[in-house]
Symmetry: C2
Subunit: 150 residues, 2 copies
């Protein structure tokens, strides 16, 4: 483990988060998402795992180091519930709370229809699978920048 | 880049630092050290680089996240100058200052004779080469632990 770094960020995940640049996207997904098959088509080419925790804890760890992209309106996209695109289940409100906590302001998520989400996911940099049991714990997060010190 | 993590810690270096456990050692070396040939015999099996800076800046970045091993008297060993084993050149006093700064106390380095250092280096987890130009900018650092939160 390392000083000041959330221990849920294992070596493979830390590698990927650091290797990503501005505009690269990661998929944070639940236990039912086809993580391995989608991940094989991503830039990294293999699935990453934050096991033993759900969406909220994994997101808190990721967002403790990864800035979101301020160059777009909605750097985080949630997967829409089929037939109920405007309904936001608790697993998604929890993710919204982690975004707001990490960024210090309310920054609403966007949303993507399920099959469009799969398409977008294959173009991501990587897929990080959690142990989330609840449905629709699936998100796309676009990485932002760290400004030079003043 | 990532929030709160020194940008000198590139993806490969972060991976290695996180993958190391208690008692694993890393070699921090100058530009003349046989980094690639030694690294091929280490656990990781390939050389890592923090380019563009010398020993002090690289050490500061590494020690910002890596705890030193409190279970041994001297978790950091410097390479001794041939024929002058007790002389500590500025590149080594600078490393000592970075140890003391990171750990919040004076924690003196040990030392190893040059050829014994090469032997020990081959048994390390990894080798991180810097752009340090001064001779004897070569050190072995043993990783410690992060205690559970109280």
């Amino acid at each position: 483990m390392l000083k000041s770094i959330n221990p849920l960020l294992n070596a493979d995940v830390l590698y990927a988060l650091r290797a990503m640049g501005h505009g690269d996207e990661l998929v944070l997904c639940d236990g039912n998402f086809p993580a391995d098959s989608v991940a094989r088509q991503t830039v990294l080419g293999r699935v990453l795992r934050i096991d033993g925790v759900g969406t909220q804890e994994a997101a808190r760890a990721i967002l403790s180091v990864m800035p979101l992209d301020g160059a777009v309106e909605t750097p985080v996209q949630r997967m829409e519930i089929m037939g109920q695109p405007d309904e936001i289940p608790p697993v998604q409100t929890e993710l919204q709370a982690e975004i707001d906590r990490a960024e210090g302001k309310h920054w609403p998520m966007g949303s993507i229809e399920r099959f469009a989400f799969y398409e977008a996911a294959r173009k991501a940099y990587c897929v990080i699978a959690t142990s989330e049991r609840r449905f629709y714990g699936c998100f796309l997060l676009k990485k932002g920048v760290i400004a030079p010190e003043a």
